[in-house]
Structures are given as structure tokens and as C-alpha cells.
């Protein structure tokens, strides 16, 4: 139940996305917990390079057979890279959500927005709470 990987270096959102920051670029994906509750991902919709995204606004969609879930941007900025291999291989989001299944890279407008994201200990508490 609580065996989901929650790497310390990431930031997390309550919508179960992870964000790994390198300089001013944030790599974004969904967490192991998210892929597990979603079930098999059968469709993903991602923005294009150059698109602007806004913190807490939808930048894309993941769909399982039964559910459609918005992907919310953890930070505001410009999309600089998109993991387009996922469009043909949505299974990667289930198989390796924290690495190969990353979704987009965002050049952040400001690092200040990171302050409202969760760190690993708080995120672990959140998923423990939601797993009850």
C-alpha cells in the first residue's frame, strides 16, 4: 500500500504530479501513486514546445479506459521539451512514471512558485491519508 517511491529531491502537488528542478527547468510527471490509482493509461494529450503553461492550470490530459484526468502545471513557464514518445507508448506512464514516463519540461518564470509545492515527507502523508 505505502510502497510507492517518493524520491526526496522532487517537489509534489496534491494532484499527484512530481517536479524535478534543475537550474530553472522543471521536469514534470505523474507519481507512482497516481498511475496506480488511474490504472492503465490509454491516451495522453500534451502541449507543444513553446506553449505557455500556468501554475494550477491544465496543460494536458491523461486517460485510462474509464477516467479522464487533467494534468495541472506545477509551475508557470514555457514548455521547452515534450516527451512525445508517450503518444505512441502510453504504457510508459504506468511502467516508469518517475523516469522514462516524464511528461514535459518547463522553463520556469519564477522559482518562487516552488514554495507552494509539497516536499516528500508531506506528500507521503498525503498518499497515506488518501489510501485509507
Amino acid at each position: 500500500m505505502s510502497n510507492y517511491r517518493v524520491p526526496e529531491e522532487n517537489y509534489y502537488t496534491k494532484e499527484h504530479e512530481w517536479t524535478l528542478v534543475d537550474e530553472n527547468v522543471a521536469t514534470v510527471g505523474i507519481t507512482e501513486y497516481a498511475q496506480n490509482s488511474l490504472g492503465e493509461v490509454v491516451y495522453v494529450e500534451l502541449p507543444e514546445e513553446g506553449d505557455k503553461v500556468t501554475q494550477n492550470s491544465a496543460f494536458g490530459v491523461v486517460e485510462s479506459v474509464k477516467a479522464v484526468s487533467d494534468l495541472l502545471a506545477p509551475v508557470s513557464g514555457t514548455v521547452v521539451e515534450v516527451n512525445n514518445t508517450l503518444l505512441d507508448d502510453t504504457g510508459m506512464i504506468n511502467d516508469d512514471p518517475m523516469n522514462e514516463g516524464w511528461l514535459i519540461r518547463i522553463e520556469m518564470d519564477t522559482e518562487k512558485e516552488l514554495a507552494i509545492l509539497m516536499r516528500a515527507p508531506d506528500y507521503k502523508k498525503l498518499i497515506a491519508e488518501e489510501s485509507k
Binding site: 490504472g39 492503465e40 490509454v42 491516451y43 494529450e45 490530459v61 486517460e63 479506459v65 474509464k66 479522464v68 503518444l87
Partner: protein
Amino acid sequence: MKYTVLKETHEKMGAKMVEFAGWYMPIQYEGLKQEHLNVRENVGLFDVSHMGEIRVRGDKALSTLQWLTTNDIAALENGQAQYSLFPNAQGTGLVDDLIVYCIDKHKDYLLCVNAANKDKDLQWLLENNQGADITDESDQWAQIAVQGPKACELLTRVLGAKFNHIQSFHFENFDYNSETLIVAKTGYTGEDGAEVFLPNSVAVAFWQELVEKGQDLSVKPVGLGARDTLRTEMKYSLYGHEIGEDTNPYEAGLGWVCKPMKKDFLGKDNIVKVKEEGLKSKLVGFQMVDRGIARADYELFSFDNKPVGRVTSGTPSPSLGINIGIGFVDIDYSAIGTEILVEIRNKKVKAKVVKTPFLQKS
């Protein structure tokens, strides 16, 4: 929330449980796709104890049901089952869809109705009752569906050779652990098999016996998720999606269960008028041409951007590996091969009307 007697059994088998129509039900076990394919290739077990059972008895049972359903129940002999509809009083839509089981011709019928509609159905039946004795038996019955190409082999192992003699849309009583089961050759998957009505007290034992005796047949439990994708591949209607309080049965492709020439029924004139004036809209199956999954209530458009209908159900098809959908379209766009557009999150993507059932059995 209501619980079926199989709740602990599901939890032990690793089910993910959710609330559905006020019931705590398994949505999936090992995975929707595997469960779906196992029903198409082997055999699956479904706990459908949430379904409502309403008993209609007495001298006025047949006349009451003839008035309150669209199909011709007078044609049913003992041991026969029939798919039917409850029309609303104005004839502007449907109260529910159901299966009628003829237990004793003229005077004893069992109705299997949707869980979400059971209370509404019961109230409506009582309001429009023509003198029958109507009782809610939902709490007494568990229901297990056994579906798949190996379902009949499994059921024969558990119930004996007598099971083999039941024809499609017929049922028989069976003694099981001193109780009586009603075993009907009906289903909601397009596969061979049966739906079994059981007194609650024997449901767990029956389920476990099916699991044990079906090991070499690859029997697996199936959740409500795969139940929905299985019925969608067959274009079977689901109340709240293809049919509802504003659905005309002829438009929904259910004219075959309306018998206005044989009998009078509630709302008949208005229901038939829609057909006589020429159908304006029709329920069709479509296949996505572009990427994307059509979902219920998405809008459908023509290529010149005219709204032409709406989606009622849509899903990836595990058996076919394509994305399929069901929806109402203006009659001019209902021909097989017609290309239409589905609006998915403000973007219009291509689909085309195809022959149904999506899954064509060889």
C-alpha cells in the same frame, strides 16, 4: 451504502471497490483489459447482486405488465425471458430497461431492473399498477453472471447436465445447497453464459465453487469496468447513457422490443408517433479515426461544423484495439461510413459511423 454478500470475497480477491448506484462494488481486480479479454477468450464471473428484482404476481400480473412494458409479454411461456422497456406516461422517454422472467404464465413474473433505477421503478409501478401484487425482492437475491466461451462448460460442471438443455433467453430452477437458484441464459457481454439469481445465503458458496471448478478454464472475476467495455463492444444500451427519460426507443434502435400492433401500453401513441413521422435521430456506433477517446456527452459535428448529435458512451475497445463510441446523430449522418467530428476538449477530431456490434462474431 449497500453491500452484496460477496463483498469479503471481492476484497480477498484483490478487487478495487467503488460506490456504484449506492452499492459498494468491484470496479476491477487485476486489470480492466485482462478481465475483458478473459471474458472474450475464457470465462468471467460478475457479481451483479446490485441489480433490482421486482416480483409481479396475481390475476392482474400479466395485464398490468402488458400495460407497463413495451414488449409483448403474452408471448412468454413459463421459463422464458424477454428484454423490455418501461415507457413513461407521456411516451416521451423511458423509465428503465429490464428483463422479464415468466415464472408462471399470466400470474407470476420476475423483473430484473437497473440498480440505480430500482426505487424509481417500484414507485412508478405502484402508481400505475392495474391490480397486480408488486413486491421488491431485491434484498433477497444475489446475482452472479457467468460469461464467456467456456461459461457453459463451467456451469455444467457446477449445475449438472440439465444446464445444457437451457436455450438462449430461457431459464430453469436448480436445487443448490437446499435452496433454489434461477439460472437464465441471458447476459450483457455478447458471450455465451448465464445470469444466476441466488438466495443470498448460497451466493458465496456458489461463487467459490465456480472459481474452484473453473481453474483449468481460466475463470477470473470481472469488475464493473470491464462489464461496461464488454457491453459497449456489443452496443448494448446502458440506462443513463444510451437510454433515459428523454429517449425514444425507435431512435435508440430498440424498436424490436416495442409491439404497438400487438397491444396497448402506457405512452404508446407518442412513442409510435416519432417513428411514423420519420426518425430524425438515430443511435449509431462509430470508430475514432483520429487520436482521442470520445466520452459520454461530448458533442458530434458534421464537417461543415453543424452540431449533429452527442456521444452516449465511448471507450477504447480491448478486443479490437481501436477507440469506439456510441451516440445519437441526425438521421442524415447515420449511414455506415459517414464521417463525423467529435469535439474533445474544444478540438474537433475525426470519427466514422461503423457497423455494430463493433465486435463481429465469426
